[in-house]
Amino acid sequence: MLGARNFVEVCKRMAVSAGPRFEPCSLLIEMAKKIPASEISRDSIVNDDLSANEPTDAVAEVRTSSGPLAGLRVLELAGIGPGPYAGMLLGDLGAEVIRIERRGAESAGNTDPTLRNRRNMTLDLKSQAAVDVVLRLIERSDVLLEDSDLV
């Protein structure tokens, strides 16, 4: 029998991995109802407010977000100017933005505000392996943002 805390963790992981499409089934809701109210807030499972419980998992902590775009997953192919500005707008409002820079790109350190609120990775997009990674990321994303046509 799952203890209340484990149950919450399982639900959180399911919610996190399913993203915007997670809707707890009636079974989950019934199970949640059986857990003493003192141990858990049922609302924290069916809502997106994952911050209601202390995240114990690094991934859950990173993905806990708030703002209107909480749960939105954006993949940003790094550009300059308008692209990062849009990524900033989306990330600021709670979207989970993964920014993909080309391998060897320099980090701007902490100096460029438009790069905040991201998780960053570098990939050599000339390799098929990297392209495959991007396609796998796309499968679990809501938005692909690119401004590669701009210089």
Binding site: D48, P68, L69, A70, G71, Y85, M88, T111, V151
Partner: protein
């Protein structure tokens, strides 16, 4: 203001909990200036942005009312509304979207903060490589008194620019990009000298000759078109960037969607063209409609 009419957020959102109540202000809903009058030029004046846009003599120049009213105002609130709609799809509830022009225009300074933090910055008009300090990102007068936009930031485009004008790349080498040597030296010494050379070269030709010279190239050179000329430019014509509604030329809807294409826009109607029709749609009786139309 809507609060005074009895149409503030509390009342409206209670009436419809799914409502997205979107508010645009210049100064914001609170703060020392929130109850004072202002216009675009005032809001952008307090953001640090207007200070950067101006002539070489150091005078800030009003960029029309595009940055505050339409960029920071209209566009940002439209975006905020859509964000709230996304959230509502998950929560079932509306909320207030509070879009202050001054906040939004401050957000436009985010990339500039990056440059400033990295030292590529002098705090006055036309001292930024994107505000006219650099010879390669500026406007130039043609022989026939028209204007050219040059935006050849990257070395390969800069090279093409020089080649087509018959200028010697060696003379321009130190002024490519914005990271060579001391930034202040670029702004005070290097770029002004290069601007003179580039200006002299461009001034030899009419705008039409320059358009032909750079046609199809990556030199990042463009004619600066008047509104009438913009309507007629081949690129805009080919893309139908302008449409006509009842004979009036105007911008096409933006942005473009691959599946969800809107209909051709309706021309603006008279202010009261649909009053009766809408009151009837609401289910008001003739007597109620009469009352609405005549009540004081």
């Amino acid at each position: 203001m809507t609060e005074r009419l009895g149409l503030g957020p509390e009342i409206c959102c209670q009436r419809n909990p799914r409502l997205i109540y979107a508010r645009i202000t210049g100064w914001g809903q609170d703060g020392p200036l929130s109850r004072t009058a202002g216009h675009d030029i005032n809001y952008i004046a307090l953001t640090g942005l207007l200070h950067q846009i101006g002539d070489k003599q150091g005078r800030p120049v009003p960029p029309l009312n595009v940055i505050g009213d339409y960029g920071g105002g209209g566009l940002m609130v439209a975006f905020g509304i859509v964000c709230a709609l996304f959230e509502r799809a998950r929560s079932g509830r509306g909320q207030v979207v509070d879009s202050a022009m001054i906040d939004s225009v401050i957000s436009f300074t985010a990339p500039l903060m990056g440059l400033r933090n990295q030292g590529y910055w002098i705090d006055r008009p036309a001292a930024n490589f994107l505000s006219g300090a650099a010879h390669y990102y500026d406007t130039y007068e043609t022989r026939d008194g028209k204007w050219l936009a040059v935006g050849a930031i990257e070395p390969q485009f800069h090279q093409l620019l020089l080649e087509r004008l018959g200028l010697d790349p060696a003379e321009f080498a130190l002024g490519v990009g914005f990271q060579q040597g001391l930034y202040s030296e670029l702004v005070e010494d290097v770029w002004p000298a290069l601007r003179s050379k580039l200006a002299a070269a461009i001034r030899r030709y009419s705008r039409a000759e320059l358009e032909a010279m750079f046609d199809g190239s990556d030199a990042c050179v463009s004619p600066i078109l008047s509104m009438q000329e913009a309507l007629e430019h081949p690129h805009n014509v080919a893309r139908k960037a302008f449409i006509e509604i009842d004979g009036v030329a105007q911008n096409a809807p933006v942005p473009r969607f691959s599946r969800s294409r809107p209909k051709h826009p309706q021309a603006p109607r008279a202010v009261d063209a649909n009053t009766l029709e809408i009151l009837k749609e609401l289910g008001l009786s003739t007597a109620q409609i009469e009352h609405v139309l005549t009540a004081r």
